[in-house]
Subunit: 122 residues, 2 copies
């Protein structure tokens, strides 16, 4: 490493840190709250209908689910499809964009499982 390279590294390091904090905070903002990740997870697990999603997420209320679904639809994280047969069928599906959270969700599930084992193990 030359002198200039060192200097560049030193100077660029704080910028990278700033960038990373920024990126992290952005993600936290988009996924904010108790419910968005569980909803995405539920959809990815094949649940498409309102009541199915509701039942698959312990603790969520219809109001919260309704609000979050709306917000996430507005943010292009999922698609709402109405099939006007009788009875009307409403289906929610994740967008490709939303699928990009897959790795985060998997890591979080992994952590949660390990955590439980650890606690149980004590």
């Amino acid at each position: 490493m030359t002198k200039q390279e060192k200097a560049a590294a030193i100077l660029s390091n704080p910028r990278n840190q700033q960038e990373e904090v920024q990126a992290l905070q952005d993600t936290i903002y988009v996924l904010g709250g108790k419910w968005k990740l569980p909803i995405i997870n539920s959809l990815c697990n094949g649940n498409k209908r309102f009541r199915d999603i509701e039942r698959s997420i312990p603790g969520i209320t219809t109001r919260m689910l309704s609000r979050e679904l709306k917000e996430m639809e507005a943010n292009q994280l999922l698609k709402r499809t109405v099939t006007p047969d009788t009875p009307v069928l409403v289906e929610y599906t994740v967008t490709e964009y939303c699928r990009s959270f897959g790795d985060i969700i998997l890591e979080m599930i992994k952590w949660g499982k390990q955590h439980r084992e650890k606690i149980r193990g004590i």
Copy 2:
């Protein structure tokens, strides 16, 4: 797949889903809020002292930082070390346990960066 295997798969599937939602919600609970992940990230980046951590996280207030550090210390996510030289030196470091969030944080930073690029690209 035999009949029994199929049945077992069908029966075990909902249980796995339940388990996964549970794990996900546990993780969300532990990492809840705007600040815990940025704080862990900051510590992992080498910041140890209160004001350094504070400066490294845009938007955080001393009050929030103080609260979160206390809570995280109580939950064994980090260690507080006081060196009673004059002036007193207080240092925070992550525990091994806390390091297990590393993968989640990396995935979230990755997502945040891609998100920014995507938005900039439009």
